[in-house]
Symmetry: C2
Subunit: 366 residues, 2 copies
């Protein structure tokens, strides 16, 4: 790559489908769900090469301490959202942070190619990618498109008709590197997911984007000006705080509160006419529930994935996370058993989506 | 009843099928498995009427403290077995304790009817009986038979072809109170159990017996002399200890060690020719595993029996004993979830017999 890329790691999620391990300050991205390091640690490690600048991490005030704790000794900055307003506002903050204060008043033309504006690589903090070289190759391929003014999204090659993800429809090829996006499709029905898989040319929207900062500022000024203005003001207000020692930038709460809450897909991607997709097959998983954790884990001869102390007899296809306790299973098939502190969650792995219910119950204090 | 009956409560069991709650010093009889009091407390309460003398409880050295703890303020004596040698040796100790020291040398003729020898009512400490009046009526009916020299066993009216119990075959009626036993049948096959249930005249052997002390001494001297001699010597040896303040009699270990280990069924009942059965339907259960605990417990509208803190969603027919933790079930059917300290046991209720495997694993320290 000719230009160092600036990673933006979105660290604002909660991950309620991974309750009870994920809750409160201990959000999903801080858990060790696959391998010995947390999802956040893996996200940072993934871009710790000379091709990337130290990451800017967008997070909420509650997560400053756990991030500092998990990233000790590493080079990064934190940009703190006073409140969670969705991915559009988070990306607006990151974009505004990487532009001179005057840029907002003078949006660039869509096809402008100002090499001096940094390339921002936005990615979630709570996904996993097992084929890191494939990821790096995709970013390298996407960089020239982004420099030309395309907003690039990385499309995950689908392996199954998943209904839990949005899909991206690819149109005309661009420079052998990607395709113009013709359409974003929201989480589809099973039937539509199967049809897209059969037709080909569709990929999963993983929420990973590469773009020039000035180009995103222009797109936001056009498609969601209230969000961009609020983020810009929250950064450039006299109220905003900067703790240099901790590498923490605190956006101004009053200004930021004016940002409508929205996702980057709804606010920008679906409306912009110059969005590209670079397909990539890189062992990606959003590791969104206990079933995904089971799928990714090392397993014994009976397809059981066990963390901690457990004794299993005549039991197959289970996920056990013993959390410091000792779990004994006899004659059990296909369950998730997750122990965390005084909480014990038990459910069939194929009901993993329903964990939100227990998390809500917990949060309600009932 | 014309004569006060002496209850003998056998308190030597472990109950490994109720692991993890039952283990070590906290044996099954000390647990609250049905209702607010323990099985031992219910056993003592059951005979706390003027018809019965204060009970003699036969136990091991490890159980002295928990018994004193659970029976505070009640009138009872403890007879401590130095080691567990089966029900025959335990009953031999109780029998010898209730006879003058000279009795052993001069066994009585089988049909002797010496009203002066006490009637002993032997019963386990870890079963439940929900219809106490039916139990009392059966004992009242059985007492004249016992006084005539019959060893009476109480036969539980069978409601299902259980394969986990021994069966008793009733023969000729005796005095409208019971029947002569023609045969004891060991735990049968499913087919034989079904055949006996269909034929009628069979009942379950619950290990509850009523007999004259001198009559049992005679039967043991005839059928299992080594056991009776060892028990007699263990009681009347100079070594045996008596802590009057604690109402504890400690049998002599060296003498008692000579007793072959055997059950009263094998050692006496199957060989004696004057054994009677008094059938009784009294809501009896040996509450032998978690499935029985579920069956006896109060349940919610979805057939879930819950003790402690639990949250259940779309879950039916489960037993949850949360043990101070908080258990969340989603979409779970027919499981036992038993939490005790740091141990969490999960198995289908219809695999309840297999809990021994986990208990063995625990005991082996693996």
């Amino acid at each position: 790559m000719t230009q160092q890329i600036q990673p933006i790691i979105l660290c604002g999620g909660a991950g309620s489908r991974l309750w009870p391990e994920s809750r409160g300050q201990r959000a999903k991205q801080f858990l060790r769900l696959a391998g010995a390091s947390s999802l956040l640690q893996q996200s940072v490690s993934r871009i710790s090469t000379p091709d990337f600048a130290p990451p800017l991490i967008i997070c909420g005030p509650d997560h400053i301490a756990p991030i500092h704790d998990q990233l000790q000794g590493q080079d990064y900055r934190l940009l703190v959202e006073p409140a969670a307003r969705g991915t559009a506002a988070a990306i607006a903050l990151a974009t505004a942070y990487h532009l001179p204060t005057t840029d907002m008043a003078t949006p660039l033309p869509m096809d402008s190619a100002q090499g001096s504006s940094p390339l921002l690589l936005v990615m979630p903090s709570d996904h996993i990618i097992t084929d890191i070289p494939a990821f790096h190759r995709a970013v390298t391929e996407a960089a020239p498109l982004a420099q030309q003014g395309w907003i690039v999204t990385f499309g995950i090659t689908p392996h199954a008709p998943e209904t839990g993800f949005g899909y991206i429809a690819a149109g005309e090829p661009i420079d052998d590197a990607g395709f113009a996006v013709t359409r974003f499709i929201e989480k589809p029905s099973q039937r539509n997911a199967e049809a897209m898989l059969a037709a080909g040319g569709y990929s999963w929207n993983a929420g990973i984007f590469l773009f020039r900062a000035d180009r995103m500022a222009q797109a936001m000024t056009q498609h969601c000006p209230a969000i961009y203005q609020a983020a810009h003001a929250a950064l450039h207000s006299a109220q905003h705080d900067h703790d240099a020692k901790q590498n923490v930038i605190l956006a101004d709460a009053t200004s930021f509160a004016a940002a409508p809450s929205n996702s980057i897909d709804y606010a920008v991607m679906e409306h912009d006419r110059r969005v590209a997709v670079v397909p990539v097959d890189m062992g990606w998983s959003d590791i969104g529930n206990w079933s995904a954790v089971h799928a990714l884990a090392g397993k014994d001869a009976h397809d059981n994935a066990v963390t901690g102390q457990a004794w299993l007899h005549a039991s197959h296809g289970n996920l056990v996370r013993a959390g410091g306790k000792r779990v004994s299973l006899i004659g059990i098939e296909g369950l998730a058993v997750v122990v965390d502190g005084d909480d014990i969650l038990i459910l069939p792995l194929d009901h993993s989506q329903d964990v939100r219910l227990a998390a809500q119950q917990d949060a309600s204090g009932a």
